[in-house]
């Protein structure tokens, strides 16, 4: 058999590795800023683009798609050719992929800070960027499959199964969740509304964790961990079991983000049931990782790379245990909307993703530069700093979550809420400080790593390409008789791709199709009407400022929530909400029934200086809303887009919309004048007040003060 010569390119992995470090540091820095903002509102600086509501999405997107994303690509572009004994299919596509991705990140960060957001978590980027992501993702896929199809290795290694499964699922998730109707170049409305939008979003959101933060990183682990430990993979059959069960079960678990909400009960229960079944398949990855180290534990004590890997895999095991627990209803009642969720994701992100990335970089950079790590001692220091950072991050958040839960649900014997929302906020601010310190420590560790790796690169010489040789694959290959059934799939990448897509498609279809098609899943409420043009504009301001990052609009059926916020939310109330704004975290109080709770002038003063109306509040001020005029030129296209999606505005309402808008705005301005507030009715604050005063007013049932309301009418 003739040997063919080819080479492995190291330039692209190097570029991705640098991008990983760069965006990692930036993303974490933004996270540290956001963390401190929660404790010290002055750090919002009174500027639109430095305010928490806009900063937080930049942090989450940067860390997920820029840091971890580039980490994935580093691993794929380094390991894929080597596992397949071939060079990457197209160097040009690799370059387009690299620069395209970095450009998306940059433009994404800028547009998010400018307030262009779809408000859907981890999918905040607006439609032009969604399209750009889809294109780059397809380019990555073509390059990956080109490489796989021109391979010189008959069978695909487990890491590649994970790469393929992740690629196809992310493509599916991204496309389905990004269905939106553009109204202008950087503004669109989600195609789905209310409950359905929530379901699609959390189907996506949960699986962004699954297929962006988990499965590609399992692939990464399957390559770099045995390499670094120089040990064989523990169990091939465990790989098979946990790969297929993991991707099949993961996709169902999304609704556990919506327990006790207006989502139909059956969908909630499916979310819980499948999350519980997800535990062991997740642990399969952990076991295969840890047991691979059998016989190499003596090395773990000395080798920083392995130390990072061990803690990463352990953190993976911990958070994949915690996840199913959090999806049990009783536990979720505590954790949802609280800092527990934040702690949970950070154990995963800082521990699993962070430490696995660091381990990979400490192993990879010396290889790329044909040298030894500059300082093992510094790397060990980083390891300890990082671990301390995680602990200091997570524990205060757990503590804060339990504390706020017990305070929130405390009633006096006479039946009054023992604490007001602001009391709870103030009591957990110290924990926010501790958490921010934990994050800072973790970031310091990253900077130590960057220094160490720069020094490493400097002392070595970059190996741009590595020569290799292998025979080409024979054509017309037939499996030997009696070979294992799964081996067939392993040598047929397209079959593997198709099977993965089918396996991940099932869960989504079973949950979504009935929710969309069966009417009784979202019972209609006749009194629920579309937003007025001014309210719609106000809603878009609410979205732009990222209010849903801190304020939920979904009251759960608990006594303490109903007492605090009003009647619990019903599915039918959200039928015109494109997109839904239920939120996932209550740093501030729920706003689902904010309408009429406070006076117009209260809102006016509160947005200008929150502490004037709510002493001790940590909400930032929004002075620019008092200077900017509402962009009435967009009203027309917004109403049109909404009607296109089935919101029942009368035909031709566009022409009348702005007249109604001004009328309502003048009314509010006159109302404010009564409280000695002079304001131009064109200002954005007026629209926002209109929206806030509308919230939750369409239904009036079962309120404690119902007698009062009837007297008033």
């Amino acid at each position: 058999m003739q040997l063919q010569k080819f080479s492995y390119d190291n330039r692209i992995p190097k570029m991705f590795a640098i991008a990983t470090m760069f965006w990692g540091a930036i993303g974490m820095l933004v996270g540290v800023l956001a963390a401190f903002q929660l404790a010290f509102p002055a750090l919002n600086f009174g500027l639109p683009f430095t305010t928490f509501g806009r900063v937080r999405p930049v942090h989450t997107n940067a860390v997920i798609f820029a840091f971890v994303g580039n980490g994935i690509f580093t691993a794929v572009y380094y390991s894929l050719p080597r596992l397949l004994k071939t060079s990457m299919w197209s160097n040009k596509l690799s370059k387009i992929h690299f620069w395209g991705w970095q450009l998306i990140i940059l433009v994404g960060a800028i547009t998010l800070l400018m307030g262009y957001t779809s408000s859907k978590e981890y999918a905040e980027l607006e439609w032009p960027l969604d399209i750009a992501i889809a294109i780059i993702w397809v380019i990555f896929g073509i390059n990956m499959f080109g490489t796989i199809l021109t391979r010189r290795e008959r069978y695909l290694y487990v890491a590649i199964w994970f790469y393929i499964g992740s690629w196809v699922t992310v493509a599916m998730l991204h496309i389905v969740n990004s269905f939106e109707l553009p109204v202008s170049f950087f503004k669109s409305y989600s195609w789905y509304a209310g409950v359905q939008d929530a379901l699609v979003q959390w189907w996506y959101g949960h699986n962004a964790v699954a297929f962006f933060l988990t499965t590609p990183y399992l692939g990464l682990m399957y390559y770099f961990l045995p390499k670094a430990a120089n040990r064989p993979i523990y169990s091939y059959r465990l790989s098979i079991v946990h790969f297929w069960s993991l991707i099949f079960l993961y996709i169902w678990a999304g609704p556990h983000h919506l327990l006790y909400t207006a989502l139909p009960d059956w969908a909630q229960s499916l979310g819980t049931a499948f999350s519980i079944m997800l535990l062991l398949p997740s642990w399969g990855g952990m076991l295969n990782g840890l047991f691979t180290l059998r016989g190499a534990w003596d090395k773990v004590r000395e080798e920083p790379v392995l130390k990072f890997f061990v803690v990463a895999v352990t953190c993976y095991g911990m958070s994949t245990f915690e996840g199913p627990m959090l999806s049990l209803k009783n536990v979720n009642a505590i954790s949802h909307y609280s800092d527990w969720t934040i702690a949970h994701v950070h154990v995963g992100a800082l521990g699993w993703n962070g430490f696995l990335t660091f381990g990979m970089l400490y192993w990879l950079i010396p290889k790329l530069f044909n040298t030894k790590l500059y300082s093992k001692k510094l790397a060990s220091t980083h390891f300890w700093i990082g671990t301390l950072g995680i602990v200091l991050y997570a524990i205060p958040m757990y503590w804060a979550a339990f504390r706020s839960y017990f305070m929130m649900k405390a009633f006096t014997p006479a039946g009054q809420l023992q604490y007001q929302f602001i009391d709870v906020v103030q009591s957990i601010v110290p924990f926010y400080v501790l958490r921010a310190i934990g994050g800072t420590i973790y970031l310091t560790g990253v900077l130590v790593m960057v220094y160490n790796l720069v020094k490493t690169a400097k002392q070595g010489k970059f190996v741009a390409t590595e020569e290799a040789e292998a025979p080409a694959l024979e054509k017309n290959y037939k499996s030997p008789v009696g070979s294992f059934w799964h081996a067939v799939i392993e040598r047929k990448p397209i079959m593997l791709l198709t099977l993965s897509l089918i396996v991940v498609g099932i869960g989504g279809l079973v949950e979504m199709v009935p929710t969309f098609l069966i009417k009784e899943n979202v019972p209609t409420i006749t009194s629920v009407k579309p937003y007025t043009p001014l309210e719609l504009q106000g809603r878009d301001i609410y979205i732009r400022e990222g209010c849903s990052n801190c304020h939920s609009q979904m009251i759960r059926p608990f006594r303490y929530e109903v007492a605090r916020y009003g009647e619990y939310s019903k599915a039918g109330e959200f039928v015109y909400d494109h997109p839904f704004l239920w939120g996932s975290k209550r740093t501030g109080p729920d706003l689902a029934r904010e309408g009429g709770k406070n006076a117009d002038s209260w809102h006016f003063n509160h947005m200008l200086e929150p502490t004037s109306m709510s002493p001790g509040s940590i909400m930032p001020a929004y002075p620019w809303l008092f200077e900017n005029d509402v962009d009435v030129a967009t009203t027309n296209s917004k109403i049109y887009a909404m009607r296109k999606m089935g919101v029942p505005y009368p035909d031709g309402y566009e022409s009348q919309a702005n007249k109604d808008l001004h009328e309502q705005a003048n009314k509010i301005a006159t109302n404010l004048k009564k409280d000695k507030i002079q304001v131009d009715s064109k200002k954005e604050i007026i629209a926002l007040i209109a929206y806030l005063q509308r919230l939750g007013k369409d239904i009036k049932t079962g309120e404690t003060s119902s007698n009062n309301i009837s007297a008033n009418n």
Binding site: S235, I276, T387
Partner: protein, 378 residues
């Protein structure tokens, strides 16, 4: 550091699960008709656990066969036995899933359904005994040698051994026998068995999921969110009524009276932490109306003020404080507000609403309602 972290995390989870269990037990007693279904649930769980036991015993049996040299244990009997075991366990699981459909049809058949469950449990137990007996039989000829070995091992009991056994680890020296022959870029793959506890736990989690869905959506023996809410509210109501019985001087908008200096002082404290943002530090008004003049939007008697605080005026931005202040506290605040009359603070807001003339207390309630009427016509 890591161990501390792990320990504390585990602690929290254990705490959380205890909490969850505790809450479950709290809600259970009031759940409607739960008792009749709970027996079924327990039975279903038992069936699941027994099925797992059967599977593991069957495995042990097969394992024992390997070491038994009797020619009778041919491959066919092995497979036969395995198939029986698998069939039985599959059948039990299948029955647990499709039986609920039958039970739904007619309530009378509930007892029949339970009989079926009992029957399955008995069959499963019988299978377990049979498997046990077979395993014993197979191991008998080598009994002497085995016991000697066992006692030797037992004396050097340690954690590592249990750990190895739990995971079915093979000694590292025997690794070559497990090698799949796969080599990818120098990475070899072994083919160790999946740890038995892993398989069992995975099966249990599936059983859990089935039981979970069954309880909530087929048997309806566990409360869905809205039912839970109804139960919670009912309990709160009961507690509240019980509480009210222990209380004497309760006030509401009809019985409220002006308090003395102490009450006013207490009201002032509450006012200055909760009301000042809208009504001003001295009651001069701001977002909300002036509370020091003689003009009132919703009536100016202590009864009216009490009522406004208690229920709020939702469309005007006055929130209801009923869920935050106790009736006595509302009385204190009302008294403080009434004490502000005529203080003329600086920056007072202009008059809003109707002129309220202080009435003799006996006419107050009549006056209130007329004030309300005027409001309505506005």
């Amino acid at each position: 550091m890591q161990t501390i972290k792990k320990l504390s995390a585990t602690f929290i989870f254990i705490l959380a699960s205890f909490f969850a269990i505790a809450e479950e037990t709290v809600t259970k007693p009031t759940a409607q008709s739960s008792s009749s279904f709970d027996v079924d649930t327990v039975l279903v769980i038992c069936i699941g656990i027994l099925a797992v036991v059967i599977i593991s015993l069957a495995n042990t049996l097969l394992f024992a066969m390997k070491f038994h040299k009797k020619p009778t244990t041919s491959n066919t009997t092995k497979t036969l036995m395995l198939i029986t075991c698998v069939f039985i366990s599959a059948a039990t699981i299948a029955q647990t899933t499709d039986a609920p459909a039958k039970i739904e049809a007619a309530v009378e058949h509930v007892s029949g359904f339970r009989m079926l469950l009992y029957a399955i449990v008995i069959i499963e137990l019988a299978v377990i005994f049979a498997l046990n007996w077979m395993i014993k039989l197979l191991l008998k000829p080598d009994a002497n040698a085995a016991t000697v070995l066992d006692t030797k091992r037992a004396s050097s009991f340690n954690f590592k051994k249990i750990w190895n056994k739990l995971n079915k680890f093979k000694p590292i020296e025997d690794e070559a026998s497990l090698d799949t022959g796969h080599v990818y870029d120098g990475i070899r793959e072994l083919n160790n068995v999946t740890p038995p506890w892993f398989t069992i736990a995975f099966l249990l989690s599936i059983v859990f999921a089935i039981v979970y869905l069954y309880r909530y959506h087929v048997a309806h023996s566990a409360p869905l969110p809205e039912q839970e809410y109804a139960i919670e509210m009912q309990e709160a109501e009961q507690q509240h009524t019980a509480y009210l019985k222990t209380q004497k001087n309760l006030v509401d908008e009809n019985t409220v009276t002006m308090l003395g200096a102490d009450g006013i002082a207490a009201g002032k404290v509450l006012y200055q932490t909760n009301c000042f943002a809208c009504h001003g530090k001295e009651g001069q008004g701001g977002v909300g109306p002036n509370l020091t003049d003689d003009y009132w939007l919703h009536g100016g008697s202590i009864h009216d003020v009490f009522k406004s605080i208690k229920y709020g005026w939702k469309d005007k931005g006055m929130q209801s404080w009923e869920s935050i202040f106790s009736p006595v506290q509302i009385q204190q605040i009302s008294s403080y507000i009434k004490s502000l009359r005529g203080t003329k603070p600086a920056g007072a807001k202009e008059a809003q609403g109707e002129l309220y003339v202080e009435a003799k207390d006996t006419n107050a309630s009549a006056k209130d309602s007329s004030a309300n009427k005027q409001e309505k016509t506005k």
